[in-house]
Amino acid sequence: MNALLVLEQILNGLQLGVMLFLLAAGLTLVFGIMDLINLAHGSLYMVGAFVAATVTHWTGSFILGLLAALPAAAITGMAVEWIALRSLYERSHLDQVLATFGLILFFNELVRIVWGPRAIFMDVPQALSGTVEIIPGAPYPMYRLAIIVVGIAVAAFLYLLITRTRVGMLIRAGASNREMIGALGVNVRLLYTLVFGLGAALAGLAGAMAGPIFAVEVGMGEGILILTFVVIVIGGIGSIRGALVGALLVGLVDTLGRAFLPGLFRLMLDPATADGVGASLASMSIYILMAGILIWRPSGLFPAHG
């Protein structure tokens, strides 16, 4: 173990964090403003990945694939909000969970009908396929660096949107008191649909960028959704800033845990036991982090509700 490896692992953690942030930003807005638990957020990520892979395959251009995935996910999201979720706002969280779980099954089946049961191919764009040595002696995939850059850009865009624009003001107001902005004459339904569309587009962006790294397959959004929920609970529901901090924390803790815990245990135990214990503890580490933060701050790091 050396300093360079630690640095490289921190970069890996950042990259995972940024990916989680794209998903968590949409989820936390929907959860915070509409008070809706949307388990089908991972399905929008999957839709983004499949559309991006298909369009990239047709046109040969990753950029076109990415550009197609954003509106495809946003339109799918808004349609789902319009058709299915609108009637669920007044219902309990359990009803919402059941209904949106049903949507997961629906989308999985739909994708299977359209694209078939097997994972599909999506390659890294030519311009980003190489590696760069930003840390000497450890070439890092350029594509992963690009993801970090895009993630930071999206975070900056959301920051400006939320703090500097009228829509952002309404979103913030909605997160702190929903009834009040309705009473003040704001078209809450339209605001909800727009926010949902924005969240869906971010999920689609995450899916499209994940395509070249991960398997583009049915059910690809389910594993990452659990992590995303952990992120928004840590960050405080409804807070974009919380989502960013939470996502980076989860990304770093998960990556560094996997990278270094087995080695740490090997100092004390025999290798076989150390690997077993280390691997198990590493997969628990983010939940331990979540429990710790919730004990310290029960409503997350940056709660949106006053």
């Binding site: 969970v97 099954l105 994972a119 070249p212 991960f214 398997a215 397959e217 690809m220 609970v233 691997a279």
Partner: protein, 391 residues
């Protein structure tokens, strides 16, 4: 809230997998529990499609006996698989069970099933415990014992003169068996031995650590979506040209190669089966599978197909009468059918004695990525646990 969420998810998952095939009047009932959704679904889908192909070729019969197949999705969750098994035995009253892909699910389900007197034919999972101390007279594995393909790769990597290999597998029974099998025949030293989470998607941390360990080769066992993720990320890290990869067929089957693309071309892997093995049964299987599904069969499909044909051979021997269980069992142990892999028979612990080959990934004339056999590592290979099995 999270615990509530998970509870609801479990209930919903259990409800969601409740669909079964419509019931037929009579015949032998075969219950198939397999993984049809989530990241491991490509394996279960191929096993099911292989099994159904044999059934279809027989016109709804196996060995001339009408067979009703009941398929249920376990979503790679042990608790779901257990519930389905209980339902199939108690309310569907199946005669034979099959289908489980993952060894952790097999360990949860199979011992209870076979102890209760139901036959279980494994088309995939072959955990070491079930081949050795926990073997059962009603349990048959038609594919392999988990260690087998990894043992062959250990031998191959040693033969090629590699001395410092980095090995990696998921943290579940088959992952442990895999690395144990590899180390049984590999003679050199280890640059690292890593267990990852089952179903893990991002291997950036492992790949960084791997590069830092500076091995002369990498052996990895990551089936299904895990393998796709790892291979893509390995190539993106620029390691493809630096450190050669080796693995069992599970890391390079046809469902993985398509989505991975050229990153895997030229890689060597070990298998008990391949589409180019020359025999009449295999030719018919490969041609009919491609005609039926429009894709090339993987080794999982061949295993599902052989599971159906093994059942057919035993049903034919007892003429569809399963009331005499010991006669049916005896017929199964004879494995009196032409396996698509050629040389195949059962050892005393009801696990295969067979040849294991080395395959290489290449692009065929149609431009599809697939495997070709380039050599044989073991002939009449048997697992290391047979001696612990007392039936």
């Amino acid at each position: 809230m999270c615990r509530k969420l998970r509870f609801i998810l479990t209930i919903a998952a259990a409800a969601g997998v409740g669909f079964t095939a419509p019931a037929l009047a009579d015949g032998i009932k075969v219950g198939m529990i397999t993984t049809l959704s989530g990241g491991g679904s490509s394996l279960g889908i191929d096993i099911r499609d292989g099994f159904e192909l044999a059934l279809k070729q027989g016109g709804g019969k196996l060995g001339g006996v009408p067979v009703q197949l009941i398929v249920s999705d376990d979503a790679r969750k042990p608790e779901v698989a257990k519930q389905i098994a209980d339902r199939m035995i108690k309310s569907d009253k199946v005669d034979i069970m099959t289908g489980i892909v993952w060894s952790n699910l097999a360990m949860a389900v199979v011992p209870g099933v076979t102890r209760g007197g139901t036959f279980y034919i494994s088309p995939n999972a072959g955990p070491s415990a079930l081949a050795g101390k926990m073997c059962n007279e009603n349990y048959f594995n038609v594919a392999w014992q988990n260690d087998n393909l990894h043992e062959a790769m250990g031998q191959h990597v040693s033969d090629k003169g590699f001395k410092n290999v980095y090995i990696l597998a998921p943290n579940y029974p088959a992952g442990k068996d895999a690395l144990a099998g590899f180390k049984r025949f590999y003679k050199g030293g280890l640059a690292g031995e890593v267990y990852t989470k089952l179903g893990q998607k991002d291997y950036a941390a492992e790949i960084s650590a791997l590069r830092a360990a500076n091995p002369d080769a990498v052996f990895f066992f990551l089936p299904g979506g895990m393998g796709i993720n790892f291979l893509k990320q390995y190539a993106q890290a620029g390691l493809n040209d630096e450190i050669p990869l080796f693995g069992p067929a599970f890391s390079f089957d046809e469902t993985i190669l398509g989505p991975v693309g050229d990153a895997a071309v030229g890689v060597y892997n070990s298998s008990q089966w391949n589409a180019d093995i020359e025999n009449a049964a295999n030719r018919a299987f490969v041609a009919d599978f491609i005609a039926e599904h429009g894709r090339r069969p993987s080794l999982y499909a061949s295993q599902g197909y052989d599971a159906a044909r093994l059942i057919g051979s035993a049903l034919a021997a007892v003429k569809g009468d399963m009331s005499n269980k010991s006669a049916f069992r005896l017929a199964l142990t004879k494995a009196d059918f032409e396996s698509v892999r050629g040389n195949f028979r059962f050892g005393a612990n009801h696990h295969p004695i067979q040849d294991i080959y080395i395959r290489q990934v290449y692009r065929n004339e149609q431009g599809e990525l697939t495997n070709k056999i380039v050599g044989k590592v073991f002939s009449d290979h048997q697992d290391a646990y047979a001696k612990d099995c007392i039936m």
